[in-house]
């Protein structure tokens, strides 16, 4: 501890070099935090979904392929699916209805959005029982159900676009040629790790448009089917039963847990993930070199000084430790700015508001931030080893002769 004054003075000895070292570490960590957080969030969110006992049925050909709307009723008829009343007892009106809903993508554009949030056609009678973590006040739910062209949007979307209940929310088709003239009837509130930038509207209203478009060839498509099971134990049996019952139809299905469905998206970028990790490792190695060079140059300037310290009686181990501690402190500073700074930045600033369709929400998980900080400490330590060892080896006589 008593040596820390000296260590900190050394760090401030050449502020420009220290600053540049800190900057190079923190900039690299900033980018790394973005990528790692993205991967971590995907996994974290996927895991958190397993608590809800939800299943998703999609076409066995992939989630972009149609699933007939009639399948919704077939699924609803099956044993083991919860009812609206069981999930949301306050909802008396549709108490006995099974918690099953179509979930159909539209891909419309609001005003001149370049990256709109996602919009889905759903069953207003069941969707808020299935998505229990999405909260909507009862009066808003009723208003939504009563208006066929009504919609419900997430609180963050409302905030981003400064929208309130009663405002029109017209969507212009990008894939389809018809538009949806929606009116906002409710604003839902979901936990932070859920998409608070969706727009949900009546599936029936979407289907009206589809009937007109492409001579109605796209009509009657449920997209995917979301439903909620009574308990986790019933799920494997249900999956098998549902897929079996559609196996010989013209549209076979693939049913899986919501968690598996979410992970499917992560796996789609699986190769990218490997690439990200490889690039990250290359960055770490090059940072070690950059910091090592800075530290070695710094020590070279201090050859005589180190020789004096050793003459006074500073042992090799102490000299080694002083240099290592210095290297670790500098890189830790970079880690604090780069990793913790990135976390604070995205705690304040919501990246999701820029690219809601791609990233409905973004945060740097603590585990990722601490990992980044740990990485910075490691970089400092490894990069300090060689300069520290060289300093410890400094010959007192040669070091003193250099100038004297």
């Amino acid at each position: 501890m008593k040596y820390l004054v000296y260590v900190f003075r050394n760090i401030r000895r050449n502020p420009v070099r220290t600053l540049l070292t800190v900057a190079s570490i923190s900039i690299c960590l900033f980018l790394m935090m973005l990528l790692l957080s993205y991967l971590t969030i995907n996994t974290e969110v996927a895991h958190s979904l397993s608590d809800y006992n939800r299943l998703i049925t999609m076409s066995s050909q992939g989630f972009t392929q149609p699933v007939p709307i009639a399948n919704v009723a077939t699924v609803a008829a099956m044993e083991g699916i919860a009812t609206v009343g069981e999930l949301t007892p306050e909802d008396k009106e549709h108490r006995d209805k099974k918690a099953v809903s179509p979930f159909s993508w539209y891909g419309g554009r609001y005003k001149d959005d370049s990256m709109p949030g996602s919009q889905f056609g759903i069953d207003p009678e069941t969707i808020f029982a299935i998505m229990v973590e999405m909260k909507l006040p009862p009066d808003q739910l009723k208003a939504f159900r009563d208006d066929k062209t009504g919609c419900v949007i997430g609180k963050k979307l409302a905030k981003d676009k400064n929208l309130k209940i009663g405002d029109p929310y017209p969507l212009k088709g990008t894939v389809y040629e018809f538009n949806l003239d929606l009116t906002i009837r409710g604003i839902y509130d979901a936990p932070e790790n859920r998409d608070n930038r969706m727009c949900l509207y009546h599936w029936a209203y979407l289907d009206e448009g589809l009937k007109r478009d492409f001579q109605g060839r796209a009509a009657g498509n449920a997209g995917t089917i979301y439903f909620k099971c009574k308990d986790a134990a019933a799920m494997p049996g249900l999956i098998k039963k549902i897929d079996d019952s559609f196996r010989n139809s013209s549209t076979p299905t693939k049913t899986q847990t919501e968690e598996a469905f979410a992970q499917m998206f992560s796996e789609m970028i699986g190769d990218l993930q490997t690439l990200i990790v490889a690039v990250g490792m290359a960055v770490v190695v090059s940072l070690i070199c950059v910091c090592g060079v800075a530290m070695a140059m710094s020590m070279r300037e201090r050859t005589t000084e180190v020789a004096v310290l050793k003459a006074i009686g500073f042992g090799r181990g102490l000299v080694l430790a002083l240099v290592l501690v210095e290297a670790v402190i500098v890189s830790t500073l970079g880690g604090v700015v780069g990793a913790l700074g990135t976390k604070l930045l995205f705690d304040q600033f919501d990246l999701g508001s820029l690219v809601p369709g791609f990233l409905p929400f973004f945060y740097v998980p603590w585990t990722t931030a601490l990992f980044g900080l740990g990485l910075a400490v490691l970089i400092g330590f490894v990069s300090g080893v060689l300069p520290a060892w060289l300093a410890a080896q400094t010959s007192v006589i040669q070091g003193l002769r250099k100038v004297v």
């Binding site: 000296y6 003075r9 004096v308 009686g313 500073f314 004297v404």
Partner: protein
């Protein structure tokens, strides 16, 4: 004071090796220094003065021969042991002061004490005392660049004496100073010798400086060529 000499060199040879060629620097040196002596070491450039100083300060080892300082045979000690021994027994004064530029006068003087188990308070007291001895009280918070050469050398002397070492070695301590500052530094070294009975070995090129010492040793081509006990001048 003990009966043993402070420094005893017997049959000391030192040679440097450059590839295959051996460069003898010191040959068969025999020297005894008593406790409390103030020894001046003179000789032409390259005669081996610094090399000899390094040997008795435990910074270097002889190729052959014995170097016994304060009863310790330095050749028998490991590097770690000798470093610890130096921290307790030797104070160093260099021509270019070699203060640490990022530390204040106080912190520079404190450096050798960090290696001891003294408490922060005890360290502060010792540093203050050392700075008072060299006449720099009130300059604790100055950085080396804020001090004159003479003052820097005083800080260096304070650093050398703060652990109350047995032996002080100085390699051309006035070599970089003007006459006036040099006089003051020599005055100080003489005072350390007189009042604190320190054993001092000082290399110098300056005959006036050498006259301050109690004994003058001349070195030429690695051999002792003169050894004079001189009557000490009283400073004017």
């Amino acid at each position: 004071m003990g009966q043993e000499p402070a420094i005893a060199l017997r049959g000391v040879c030192k040679e440097y090796r450059r590839e295959q060629i051996k460069i003898p620097v010191l040959t068969d040196l025999k020297l005894t220094v008593d406790e409390g002596e103030f020894l001046a070491l003179m000789g032409p450039s390259g005669s081996g003065k610094t090399t000899l100083l390094n040997l008795l300060a435990g910074l270097d080892r002889p190729t052959t021969g014995e170097v016994v300082v304060h009863g310790q045979d330095l050749a028998q000690m490991s590097e770690g042991q000798i470093a610890r021994w130096r921290s307790r027994n030797v104070g160093f004064i260099f021509q270019l002061y070699n203060l640490i530029p990022v530390l204040t006068a106080f912190e520079n003087v404190e450096m050798p004490l960090l290696l001891t188990s003294l408490s922060k308070r005890q360290r502060r007291e010792n540093v203050r005392t050392a700075l008072r001895v060299v006449g720099l009280e009130g300059r604790e918070d100055h950085f080396p660049r804020q001090l004159s050469g003479g003052q820097e050398q005083r800080v260096a002397i304070a650093r050398a004496i703060v652990t109350d070492p047995y032996l002080l070695v100085a390699d051309e301590p006035t070599g970089d100073l003007d006459r006036q500052s040099a006089e003051e530094i020599l005055e100080l070294m003489e005072q350390l010798h007189r009042e604190f009975q320190k054993t001092i070995v000082m290399v110098t090129h300056d005959p006036i400086a050498a006259r301050r010492a109690s004994r003058l040793l001349k070195l030429d081509k690695g051999k002792l060529v003169g050894d004079v006990i001189q009557a000490q001048e009283v400073a004017s």
